[in-house]
């Protein structure tokens, strides 16, 4: 195999890199006049990239096994692409002010660079490529969190994120170093058989896995989440809660299945307690939040617990339900964040109390928000119900009845706080509700796509069938 044919399997990375480089040149060359078209061009190019990489091809590896490709990865990357595209559609208002105008390009390169990092992380076949991908995803994310230079909250959240992220990757690297010391290799495929349950390896595994749990913000490692979600610009928060989280979940799943298959009893125990903690603590803290971004941060923590419930089942069914759950979660969460950013952009209001009486003035926005809340809570006709049902089904098949019971009780608790937002919008009286807002057409498009996804993703068989076709288990 000559050098260039290595890149055949990396075509999604190469095309994304092409988009990034083109936008970089465009930003440098285009003057003030050309920059007006920057967002449409960026969205168009990224949509073309998404369409080009829609179809899976045969599995393979390049660069001596450093990079591995499997058809399921196309499915994951497509889900990430759809989420990023929706976030770009919602990002227009970020650049409305004059001060922000010359920062327009940076938002897109940084976001796309983190996406490229996640691509590498997802397809890695070696711990080094995995680590590089992870850092490539988290370092630009820190700059995105601190994007608003004049805003105290944004700066504080950026500092908190970069320091805790570096700390967690240090812990993870420490684990990797002992895995290397005991196994003598860093290739995923070679390491799988060299992992025996000796105590040093179990310790190394625990250090390693804590670093990944940090990225997914499962409970003992969730302390950064609420602060960073609140301080970051709303678009970056939505990127955090869907794209960054779902890529880390997929990597966790492939690593547990493929590399740490021999340690299955250990990680079963670890995940068992972490899932119980995550779902419960996330729910209980969400109950007492007044700020809607903090509220969605804790809601996303407990959603991550449900996703991990699909991971622990360890079967091919588990993998397909996790990916399906993530897709539905992308639509519902981005619908909620689209409404929040539309309101924050015009009025600056972020408290749940401000949403009282929203239905009288903005019936369409409150309808989309209601759909999102119903779907996140898992109310029957919407996609959120179907995806939760599948996750519980996959876990129940592995006889994890206690976990399913606890998760089901928590779904009922979560109804309280999701419906509190709906009640505020539709029932509560308010003398000074938010005035009628004009949403820009890009954001409108994204909200329409999200609502269509929430309503149809639960009904269309083709989605879950496609995902199931490519999933694999332990």
């Amino acid at each position: 195999m000559d050098y260039f044919s290595n890149f055949i399997y990396m075509r999604s990375e190469v095309s994304l890199l092409g988009v990034i480089l083109f936008l970089l040149l465009y930003d440098i060359i285009a003057g003030n006049k050309g920059m007006r078209y920057f967002q449409p061009v960026a969205i168009f190019l990224f949509a073309v990239h998404t369409a080009l990489n829609l179809f899976p091809y045969e599995a393979g590896e390049s660069f001596g096994g450093m990079y591995q490709y499997e058809p399921i990865m196309t499915v994951v990357k497509t889900i990430l692409n759809i989420a990023t595209l929706l976030i770009f559609l919602q990002a227009k208002h970020l650049f409305d002010g004059d001060a922000q105008k010359n920062k327009r390009g940076e938002y897109y390169f940084l976001t796309l660079t983190t996406l490229l990092g996640m691509y590498f992380m997802i397809s890695s076949g070696h711990f080094m490529l995995f680590y590089i991908g992870l850092e490539m995803a988290s370092i630009p994310l820190a700059t995105l969190v601190a994007f608003d230079k004049k805003d105290k909250k944004s700066a504080e959240a950026g500092a908190k994120f970069i320091l805790s992220s570096a700390f967690s990757s240090g812990i993870m690297l420490f684990g990797i170093s002992y895995l290397y010391g005991t196994a003598g290799t860093l290739y995923f495929s070679d390491m799988a058989s060299l992992i025996t349950s000796n105590p040093l390896q179990i310790m190394a595994f625990v250090f390693f896995i804590s670093g990944l749990f940090f990225k997914i913000s499962l409970v003992p490692f969730h302390l950064w989440t609420a602060d960073v979600y609140e301080g970051a610009p709303t678009n970056v928060t939505s990127y955090f809660s869907v794209v960054s989280k779902s890529s880390a979940v997929f990597v966790l799943m492939t690593l547990l299945f493929k590399v740490f298959g021999n340690l299955v009893t250990e990680w079963h125990n670890i995940l068992f307690w972490i899932i119980i903690l995550t779902i419960t603590v996330g729910n209980l803290f969400a109950l007492r939040q007044r700020n809607i971004k903090r509220f969605l941060a804790f809601s996303s923590i407990s959603q991550a617990g449900y996703i991990a419930l699909g991971v622990i089942s360890g079967s091919s069914l588990g993998m397909s339900t996790v990916l399906y759950y993530i897709l539905v979660y992308v639509f519902s969460n981005l619908a909620a964040f689209g409404v929040i950013s539309a309101i924050e952009n015009r009025t600056g209001k972020l408290s749940i109390d401000d949403y009282k009486g929203l239905y009288q003035t903005n019936p369409k926005l409150s309808f989309v928000m209601m759909l999102a809340m119903f779907s996140l809570a898992g109310i029957a006709p919407f996609a959120g119900f179907v995806s939760k049902f599948f996750i519980f089904y996959a876990a129940a098949q592995q006889d994890l009845y206690i976990l399913v019971l606890i998760a089901a009780v928590n779904v009922i608790i979560s109804l309280y706080y999701y419906l509190r937002v709906v009640k505020a919008m539709f029932i509560d009286k308010n003398d000074h509700p938010i005035q009628t807002l004009a949403t820009d057409s890009w954001n409108k498009a994204s909200l329409i796509i999200c609502s269509a996804g929430i309503i149809s993703a639960g009904l269309l068989n083709i989605i879950i069938d496609t995902i199931t076709k490519y999933s694999f288990g332990m």
Partner: protein, 112 residues
């Protein structure tokens, strides 16, 4: 430990490096939780990353001398740690500009 001291004239045994890297690692963790200044916290994180680099180099040299995987990982680790530090320093400078100091106790706008 006794063997370690007697052997002082010969090559250093692997356990010696392990002790150094472990001390660095836990000093870093301790510093991360107790220091109040953002720059000091960053230095603690760097201690952790450097402990890991020592680990990789030592495991490679002593246990698997016929391959280079660990040394390369250490090299890449150093490069990525440098990137991380650069971004962290930039953000800390921004914090300093906004708050007037870089002390954790004063930076508490976010809570709920």
């Amino acid at each position: 430990m006794g063997e370690f001291l007697i052997n002082a004239g010969g090559p250093i045994p692997m356990i010696g490096f392990q002790i150094v890297s472990l001390i660095m690692f836990f000093a870093g963790i301790y510093g991360f939780f107790t220091r109040r200044n953002l720059i000091m916290i960053l230095i603690s994180v760097e201690l952790i990353l450097n402990a890991v680099d020592i680990n990789f180099a030592v495991f490679n040299r002593y246990l698997y001398p016929d391959q280079m995987e660990g040394l390369f990982f250490a090299l890449f680790g150093i490069a990525i740690a440098a990137c991380e530090t650069a971004v962290a320093i930039a953000i800390i400078i921004n914090v300093y500009r906004n708050f007037g100091n870089a002390d954790v106790d004063n930076i508490k706008h976010l809570k709920g």
